[in-house]
């Protein structure tokens, strides 16, 4: 005899439950997407395991026994509860999407657009955390992230948004004060703002091996968007992405200080764990985000195509 409190095979219970509810092996097979023979096998299996007679077989119909009725009703309830618990968990999970992104991207590009997402998907609340350090996904804190890099994070699905680019940007009033930007050895009149390594990269893209000397830089700020804000205030020439700061340029608060747009081969990616490929809320956000990224890059096609991409 089978142990008194061991659960019989669940597949068999499932087949039995459907057969009992539908009062037919054939219909149960249909519901379960299998064959009547399979249902018959499973029900018999269950009867043998439990020692209970669950169905009385009549030549072309089956009838539940007393024991069968009792077990079936409880099994139906148990399966319903199980299904309900998953649905409920998913509903709750669906209502909140937690993201992490880099401060610059979050502040200058993502935040202004999130309202549009919320308007289109009012059932999903977005939580956005900004941090310079990439936060790990998969520990339950974040559903997805926007990162920059090469898109090769293992265990994560990466969807490319747009390339990481940089170009000198300054306030319109400063444009005249800018001397010969192309030669880092000649005095410039205004300080450079932003990460020195980006400036160095940009000069490499220009064909100049030596980056600007340290004395050229103004106050060093924590993040790209802060440098840009400083540039808007007329404190110098910042280096930044023409895609991220397109609105500033379009509004005339910033102008390119030079035509050359450089890139380092990296891009911004929307990333989320492969195990959550099936998550509808992530899929919805991803699709929306891709559309936004496409809309943001389409008018800049020409600029992007002519960017000088350095080998990483």
């Amino acid at each position: 005899m089978v142990s008194r409190d061991k659960l019989p095979p669940l597949a068999s219970i499932r087949a039995f439950e459907a057969a009992a509810r539908l009062e037919s092996f054939a219909r149960a097979a249909q519901e379960l997407g299998t064959t009547a023979a399979s249902v018959s096998y499973h029900v018999r299996q269950l009867e043998q395991q439990t020692g209970l007679r669950l169905f009385v077989r009549h030549p072309h119909r089956v009838e539940l026994t007393m024991a069968g009725v009792a077990v079936a009703s409880e099994a139906t309830a148990a399966f319903a509860a199980l299904r309900a618990s998953f649905v409920k968990a998913r509903d709750r999970d669906e209502a909140r999407l937690s993201l992490t992104a880099l401060p610059t991207l979050g502040t200058s590009w993502l935040t202004p657009r999130l309202g549009l997402f919320r308007a289109r998907h009012p059932d999903i609340a977005i939580e956005l955390e900004l941090s310079a350090e990439p936060q790990p996904l998969g520990d339950g804190r974040f559903d997805a992230a926007i990162r920059h890099g090469l898109g090769d994070w293992r265990g994560l699905r990466s969807v490319r948004l747009f390339p990481v680019l940089f170009t000198p940007l300054c306030a319109p009033g400063l444009k005249g004060a800018v001397g010969d930007l192309e030669d880092p050895s000649r005095p410039l009149g205004v300080p450079l703002l932003g990460r020195p390594d980006w400036w160095a990269s940009w000069y490499r893209a220009l064909g100049v091996a030596a980056g600007p000397p340290p004395g050229r830089f103004g106050t060093s700020l924590a993040a790209e968007h802060l440098d840009i804000a400083a540039a808007v205030a007329g404190h110098g020439i910042a280096i930044g992405s023409p895609i991220l700061f397109r609105d500033e340029i379009a509004a005339g608060r910033l102008v390119p200080a030079h035509d050359l747009v450089a890139g380092d081969g990296r891009a911004f990616w929307f990333v989320y764990p492969v195990v959550r490929l099936q998550s509808p809320k992530i899929a919805r956000f991803r699709d929306w985000l891709c559309d936004e990224a496409a809309a943001a890059t389409a008018p800049m096609r020409n600029l992007i195509d002519h960017a000088v991409i350095l080998e990483p």
Copy 2:
């Protein structure tokens, strides 16, 4: 995305539930009688199917997420309910054992012994129905049967109890009045009781081709045990089983009218559906019945071994 109300694979839910309850894949594997790799696989499977993150993986321990806690508690409850329903159904089913048997065996052999079974197994109530026609098993009316035959009923498990034998029996006072039983053509002085075909078989076993002429028989009764009762009353010589009527013989109410014991190759069998091999109540009754049959036949070993068995 997986359909909103489709139940994920039950095997995966089961693995997850155990892992959640025990807070360890390794212990869950142990409980489920499988390996940690399998549990890991199933949990991952479930997470992919549902799009829910259920566990946070720490290097050498796992931790339930919010969603995991919610699902796990409901899953545990659902499984418990399922298990309970089977246990309850079995308990209820266990309390009553319904049997069908032949009238003669039931009246003369089984009924006197049932009290002993009840005394030893007070939790099982026996229902016994006697009928000359073999009742079908498997339609829910009877759990098991005692039949006579060759033990080759398909779909049924047969356990041999003792052989079907027959020998002439009469009241002690009649023994002297019996003439030459061995020659069916010579007058006998007393009528023969019981089924003419059994008498014919008995004479064949004796080596006499011709059975007794019809005129030799007394009143024809419906069942063997009624013939035996008539014999006890001194109305003639009955043919019947020395095993079934052992008590009558031991008490001196009947004596063998001849030494020859014949058999037709058949036996009494305890039979029950193969699908109920696991049924504890049937197993208990079967074991008890076999013991009783063994106890009843042991003292008659010699007699049984010397019986003349006819080819069926």
